[in-house]
């Protein structure tokens, strides 16, 4: 059933984000092209296109947050909940569906951001006579980089940390919304209150765990080991918080759901 | 044929009356297969259980009979149909005579009036 939910949830978020991505790519290309002429008259074009690029980036950032909040609260606690909660689907699948879709789109956004960087580069080099984009790439590849030892593990650890952090943030938002919905009115205010309470809870637990870090990070270990230890603790902590928030959502939705 | 239900009388007895009338008038011919309960219920806009109950009563009265696999049929028995006609005729006469008595007509008056009316419409 989770697969079926994702089949509808992923496009539902995409239909809002994909047009923005297209706009973002266009502004990136425009910005790149604008940098080509160093003419003082066209300088303002660079400023304008840079502003446009930033504006779309901000819009995407804001839209992503709105979507995370809205797709959850509207589908599972708002009007559409009258349909979603009568589907023969477990609450676990519903929450999982929302969290997976949101995480996925956040990472797509990151990929698109990288792509816009490339587009700026293409725009900046595509018609200029001295360096073409292809040559630029070829030069970049030919550069010999001295990769540090264990670079693969570093990358995996960082990636996992980022994923765990993103998932945790999403689950934080979901938990706050679900708790806030328990208040029969002023649910938005209650959700904000719940979010603050969650932040306080998290920092309190974090402070309690600090001594643990001190013990694990020893000076005789090399920097790689220290980094790995911190990364693993951070991943476990984020995962643990995510699980706690998930169960809060699940419990409230299974046992205390009151749609009004 | 239109179905029209009045308030205050059980729907199933109104269905019995209507079906009886249809059989007596030949709207459903002797031996004709009746539509299914569901179709009749949909046509009349009534609950299928109610239609079922009414048909069971018609069956008990012998106006319809069912064959296990093929459905329900209007009776072919002349005797039953004749008795039905007599019963209905009697019922209508009673209603008719009742009204005429209320406006002060005697039995003889009524017979006379009926004869005159029959001549008039001829």
């Amino acid at each position: 059933m989770l697969g079926k939910l994702l089949k509808y949830e992923i496009p539902a978020m995409g239909r809002k984000l994909v047009p923005l991505y297209a706009a973002w790519a266009a502004t990136a290309l425009f910005l790149g092209l604008a940098t080509q002429s160093s003419d003082s008259k066209t300088e303002f074009m660079v400023v304008i296109s840079a502003l446009l690029y930033t504006a779309v980036a901000t819009a995407i950032f804001v839209m992503t947050i709105i979507l995370i909040v809205q797709r959850y609260s509207n589908s599972l606690l708002g009007d559409e909940a009258y349909f979603n909660h009568v589907l023969p689907v477990s609450v676990t699948a519903h929450i999982g569906n929302k969290a997976i879709s949101a995480t996925l789109w956040i990472f797509v956004t990151v990929l698109v951001a990288i792509l816009t960087g490339i587009l700026i580069a293409i725009g900046a080099t595509i018609v200029s006579s001295d360096v073409g984009f292809i040559e630029l790439i070829r030069d970049l590849i030919s550069v010999q980089i001295d990769w540090p030892e264990h670079i693969g593990i570093y990358i995996i650890e960082v990636l996992l940390m980022v994923v765990a952090g993103v998932v945790k943030t999403i689950m934080q938002i979901y938990a706050a919304i679900t708790i806030g919905h328990q208040a029969q009115n002023r649910t938005t205010l209650a959700s904000i209150g719940a979010y603050i309470a969650i932040m306080v809870f998290e920092s309190t637990v974090g402070r309690m765990l600090l001594p643990l870090f001190d013990k694990l990070i020893t000076f005789d270990a090399d920097s790689f080991q220290n980094f790995s230890r911190i990364a693993i603790i951070a991943i476990i902590a984020a995962a643990a918080f995510s699980v706690i928030y998930f169960f809060i959502c699940k419990y409230l939705m299974e046992k205390r759901l009151n749609l009004n | 044929m239109e179905w029209d239900f009045k308030g205050g009388v059980p729907i199933y007895s109104q269905i019995i009356d209507e079906m009886t009338m249809r059989i007596a008038s030949g709207a459903y011919e002797p031996g004709e297969k009746l539509p299914s309960v569901r179709d009749l219920a949909m046509d009349a806009g009534v609950n299928p259980n109610t239609m079922q109950k009414a048909l069971a009563e018609l069956e008990r009265k012998g106006l319809v009979f069912s064959e296990r696999t093929s459905g329900r049929f209007v009776t072919k028995e002349e005797k039953v149909l004749k008795a039905l006609h007599e019963e209905l005729a009697r019922k209508y006469f009673e209603e008719f005579a009742d009204k005429l008595r209320k406006i002060g007509m005697s039995g003889e008056d009524i017979v006379g009036a009926v004869k005159k009316w029959l001549e008039d419409i001829r």
């Binding site: 349909f83 979603n84 009151n258 | 009388v9 059980p10 949909m42 009534v46």
Partner: protein, 231 residues
């Protein structure tokens, strides 16, 4: 075991008592009218049966199960509002129903949508309020469910559609299903009902066969309703 059992259900919203110890057993094979004026608790009761609201006291079971994935498989619910994503077309919504409900009969849904003149490729957003209601009803009635919970199915539609809807309910009827129709428009539905439940200020004040009411009281259910709920 009755198909639906409502065991002394009380529901409070703050200081307001929406349902007060409601007890009902509804057997399969019937069409039940849940009748009461606006605000009498009909919608609250239906939402509890769907697990969308939790009772303050008491419990409900469908096929012996409390509301959950097991009951949701066999319950077809028509809510009192539009609950479907409105950027989707009728056709896409049928896809969703087909994906999630094993008992959904796509051909039947398409036939109903066509009968009612709904454009299959139009998005819900562009439909009139009445058309949205009709579409939701088509999707719900195209299921071969064991329990139908219809909250005001004929509230906002024209008389021709109302007749079509009632005929659909009759044609969908089967011995294994129970249909609950909540409405305050009694005259329109009374001929299709087996049983009627009068609900007044959160309490069940009458639960009887519709024909029994007509026979015993010598008046229509609609007339009795007007007496019971006289303002």
């Amino acid at each position: 075991m009755a198909r639906i059992e409502i065991n002394h259900v009380t529901k409070q919203f703050g200081s307001l008592t929406a349902l007060d110890s409601v007890a009902l057993k509804l057997e399969k094979g019937q069409i039940v009218g849940l009748l009461g004026p606006n605000g009498s608790g009909k919608t609250t009761l239906i939402k509890i049966l769907n697990g969308l609201l939790q009772p303050t006291a008491g419990n409900v079971t469908i096929n012996g199960m409390e509301p959950g994935v097991g009951t949701k498989r066999v319950v077809a619910y028509l809510p009192d509002r539009n609950a479907l994503p409105d950027y989707m077309t009728s056709s896409q919504l049928m896809d969703i129903y087909q994906d999630f409900f094993e008992d959904f009969d796509r051909q039947k849904a398409e036939a109903m949508v066509d009968d009612l003149g709904i454009d299959r490729s139009q998005t819900m957003k562009k439909m009139s309020k009445g058309t949205k209601e009709k579409l939701q009803l088509c999707l719900v009635m195209a299921r071969q469910a064991e329990v139908y919970l219809l909250d005001e199915p004929i509230g906002g539609v024209d008389p021709a559609t109302r007749d079509y809807i009632l005929r659909t309910i009759i044609s969908n009827y089967n011995e294994d299903a129970v249909v609950i129709i909540s409405t305050h428009l009694i005259a329109d539905v009374e001929s299709v009902l087996d049983d009627v439940v009068f609900i007044k200020e959160g309490r069940v004040v009458l639960h009887k066969a519709a024909d029994e009411i007509r026979e015993e009281k010598g008046e229509s259910v609609d007339k009795l309703f007007r007496e019971v709920f006289k303002c």
